[in-house]
Structure formats: C-alpha cells, structure tokens
C-alpha cells in the first residue's frame, strides 16, 4: 500500500471510460485485472468522485459541465495559494529586517573607515558598539520570525545571507583590531546574541564573511604605515598567512566561497609587498617593541 496513486487505479478502470466513440476493447473495466492486483483495496472516495464516467465530454459537443477534476484541483491549488502567500509574507518580513541590517552595516562601516585616517581606536569602537547593539536587536528579530517557520531556515536563508556575511566581516575586523585574533564562528554568534538561539549563522556565511574581512586588510596596512606604524605589516602578514593556511584545510566546492578564498592570496601578496617596502628601508622595528595604538607617530 505504498503508493497512493496505486490505490486510485481501481477507480481508474472506470474513469478512463471514454468509450462512447466505440473503442471499447480497452476501455471497459477489466475485473480480472482488478482481482489479480492486490493493491486496490482502498479506493479513496475522492478519486471515486472524480472518475465519474458520466461526466465524459465529446470534442464536438458543447462543453457546459466543469471538468471532473476541477473540484479536487481547485481545492488543492487554493491551499497552495494560501501556503505561498504565507511564505511570501514571511519572506517580505525577513527582507524588511535584512534591509535594516544592511543600513546598520553601512553605518558601522563608515565608522570603521575612520581607522584608515588613524583616528584613535577607542573613539571608533565607542561609535561602533552602539550600532552592534542595533545589529543584535535585528538578528533577534530574524530569529523571532524564523521561529514561526521551524525547520525552514534554509528556505528563507537567501534573504539575509549576504547581509550576514557583511556583518561577520565587520565584526571580525573589529575583533581583530581589538584583540589581534580571529573571531570564531561561535564568537560571532555570541556577539549577535544568537548563542542560545535556534537561529544560527551558517558556517559558509561565516567563512565568506572572514574572506571579506581579509579584503580590507591591505588598505589598513597601507594607511597604518603611512601613519608611521611600521610594525603593522608584520602583524597583519602573520595573521593573513595563518588565516590562509587555515582556509587551505577546507575542501571547498566550486562556489562563491572558493572564489573568495582564491582572492585572498592577492590580499596576502599586497601586505607582503608593504612589509617588504618597510623592511628594505630599515623602517621595520624588530619584534614587538612597538606599542599598539601609536596613531600619528612619525
């Protein structure tokens, strides 16, 4: 009794009765066949109604009756319409939150760009942190909407995917500025207040966000060196090399993440070039004698 449509085949014997034109040899119900097939015990009443042979039409006759399948189809498609409308409105709500996340990202990014002008870190961080609270709130909203459709995270994932990647890249950059270490996946979730939530950050989104962050590092290094922080290239190079080595542990598919990862080596090379420039001119300081936060030192 595995297939429902097998169940219906008993009724089928009646329903395909199009025999008014006289092709009766195959159209008559075939009782011997029904008896030999063990599957036909359950003929669903729905199909029995549908297969009313008296409803048969002829091509030449005027077609006044509704087709026999229409009641059943109407019912199913009406249910689909409701289902798709509900999912459509969920999608719109996800999109609305994602748009706000995007706007917040732009704010954070504009504050973070002050880094390139060698503004003091505490000032930048202070501005950014209030915005991170906004992000937290927005991600909680996403989680709340997602609770309405349990088990369908990935159905709607596309709606917040790229925004989440950007969030990860900003958070990771901030985290690196503060601590000099890589923001882990779990830490990123924690920063967004998602650590206890059902709603998680997809690992691939996290990894793509980290790649985005690596893209920002060459510019940072260039501007730090211009501002006189000659130890910065060495630190960034060490970090990027470690990061690149770690990324090579992953077996990637030919997808977007792979493309971003392939691009990372150019960031690495750019930083190496800056390091070389600084080193060959004897500007680089040995070891960690340089104190952090030496903005504007010449």
């Amino acid at each position: 009794m595995r297939l429902a449509f097998r169940n219906a085949s008993g009724a089928a014997k009646l329903s395909i009765n199009l025999s008014e034109a006289g092709c009766s040899s195959f159209l008559n119900p075939n009782p011997s066949f029904i008896n030999t097939c063990p599957i036909h015990h359950h003929i669903s009443p729905r199909n029995a109604v549908v297969s009313n042979p008296s409803r048969c039409h002829t091509l030449s006759g005027a077609e006044t009756h509704a087709p026999p399948f229409s009641a059943l189809m109407d019912k199913q498609f009406e249910a689909f319409r409701q289902h798709l409308e509900e999912s459509g409105s969920l999608r719109d709500r996800f999109r609305a939150v994602a748009t706000q996340i995007e706007a917040t990202n732009r704010n954070i990014n504009s504050f973070l760009l002050l880094i390139h002008q060698s503004r003091p870190m505490p000032e930048v961080l202070e501005k950014v942190n209030s915005e991170i609270d906004v992000l937290k709130r927005l991600f909680n909203q996403l989680a709340e909407i997602a609770r309405e459709c349990p088990g369908q995270y990935y159905r709607y994932h596309g709606n917040w995917k790229s925004e989440t990647q950007a969030v990860v890249s900003l958070l990771a950059f901030l985290h690196w500025l503060e601590t000099g270490t890589l923001l882990g996946h779990a830490e990123a979730e924690q920063k967004l207040g998602l650590d206890k939530s059902e709603f998680r950050i997809d690992v691939e989104d996290y990894l793509i966000g980290i790649c985005f962050m690596a893209n920002d590092l060459p510019r940072y290094v260039v501007n730090r060196v211009t501002a006189g922080d000659y130890d910065c290239p060495r630190k960034v190079m060490k970090f990027l090399t470690d990061l690149h080595a770690a990324f090579r542990m992953l077996n990637l598919r030919n997808d977007f993440l792979r493309k971003k990862f392939d691009g990372m080596k150019y960031d690495q090379r750019k930083v190496e070039e800056v390091y070389y420039d600084v080193k060959i001119r004897g500007l680089a300081v040995d070891g960690d004698t340089m104190v952090e936060g030496t903005e504007g030192q010449q």
Binding site: S9, L84, L243, M249
Partner: protein, 281 residues
Amino acid sequence: MLKPSRSLYKLCSVMLSSHTPNRPSEAATKRARTMTTDSSSPNPIEAAFSGYADYLNQLNDKRERVVKASRDITINSKKVIFEVHRISKHNKEKVLEKANKNLAAVVDQHISRLVKELNGTDFWKLRRAYSPGIQEYVEAATFYNFCRTGSLLTLDEMNAALLPLSDPFSKPLKINVLDYLLGLADLTGELMRLAIVRLSDGELEFAGKICRFAQEIHRHMTVLAPNMDGDTDMTFKMDTMLQSVMKIENACYTVHVRGSENIPLLGSMDPSYPMMLPDLE
C-alpha cells in the same frame, strides 16, 4: 614562511579526504590529526578551522550522495514517462501496469536513498541538490496517474505514499509545494506530446480530456507563479507551459474543424480505413 603550512595542508587533505563515511578511516583520521598538531607551528586559527573543515566535508559528501540519488530518480522517472507514452488503445493495461511497476521501483530504490540521506536534516538546505530529481518524479507520477485515473495526483497523496520510507521517529521527507508545482509545469509538456499522438491515433475523447486537464493546470499555475519564493525557473516554465497548452488546443481545433469528415473513420475499429491526420504529428 609558507613551507610548514603547505605540508600541513597536505596532511590535512589526507585527513579530510579519508572522511567519507563508507571507508573505515577512523584510525587514519586520528593519526593524521595528531600528526597535524605535532608538526604545526602554533597557529591558533587552525584549531577552529578543523571544525569547519569537518562540517564542510560532511555536508559536501552528503550533497554529493543526494545529487547522485537525484540523478537516478531523474533517469528512471524519465523511463516511466516514456513507458506511459507507449500507451495506445490496445495495450493500455499492459503499459500502465509496467509503468506502475517502474514507478514503484523508483520509489523503492532511489527515493528511499534520498530519504535516508536527508533524514533529520533541513530539507531546504540541500533542496537544490535533489530538486531536479523530485520534479521529474512528480512529473512521472502525475503523468502516470492521469493516464490511469484521468485526475490529478495531489501533493498530499504523493507525500502519503512516501511516508513509509521515512523513519517513523523523525520528520518525514515531504515533497515541497515548489518542487511539486515545478514538476506539474513540466507535466504539460508531456501531456502535449501524448495529446498529439493520441489525436493522430483517433482517440479524440482522450485528447479532449488531456486538453482540458492541461488548461486547468495552466490556469491554476498562473495564479501561483509569481509567488514561488522568487524561483526564476517558474517564469520560464510558465511560457513553455502556455506553448504546450496552445499546441494541444490547436491540434484539437484542427481535428474539430478540418478533420470532421474523418472522425467516423477514426472512431471505427475497421482497419481498412487509413489514418487521415499525418500532419498533426
């Protein structure tokens, strides 16, 4: 600078490639892992990344198996569709019986694999990997069912049929509305082929029924198409569907108007009259 990390990468890739679940790789994996930690210069990032690597490997392996199952479902569902197309006035029972068997085999052999793979995971995560196969299966099952019963096999009926494949304790695999609708959109193409061949075989009643069925599907789909989770496939399929429906309608029209003289001949079982509608095929 790069040297140690390169050898490290090799070790890791050995470790990762042996991670397919079919291989008895537990020992090898462990050895590779301890070697990794021994030989590495302290790279704090790598510890975290080995977790991501495991996750990605498992996901990719699973995706690969799902894609394979999906391809098998596609191939065998196609065979069912071809089987149903061999239908004619005289062999209906035999053909449908065989198609039914093949369809059941698709479920037993291939969809069951898919269900096993997806058991307990988010069906939507890997949807792109299995969607083509499921669509083809929907097409085959609805096509078969229409020829058998003259009615539309509903999504609920299909999902009820798949229920026994799932582990009773976990969430059963359900064909989602989107895949069902995309499969139905393809169904009209098959209906068109069937209608043309049936018409040229003189089964005007049946062709008329196919025509109304295809029209109904198309009509219902026009309401739903814009709302399909942003699925761009659907807009394309809607155009194709309208083309198919119109082909059936035009064929029916041709028979209705021009072929009216031939209808008595076609309707009769007398083999001495040749078929008069070669241009319809």
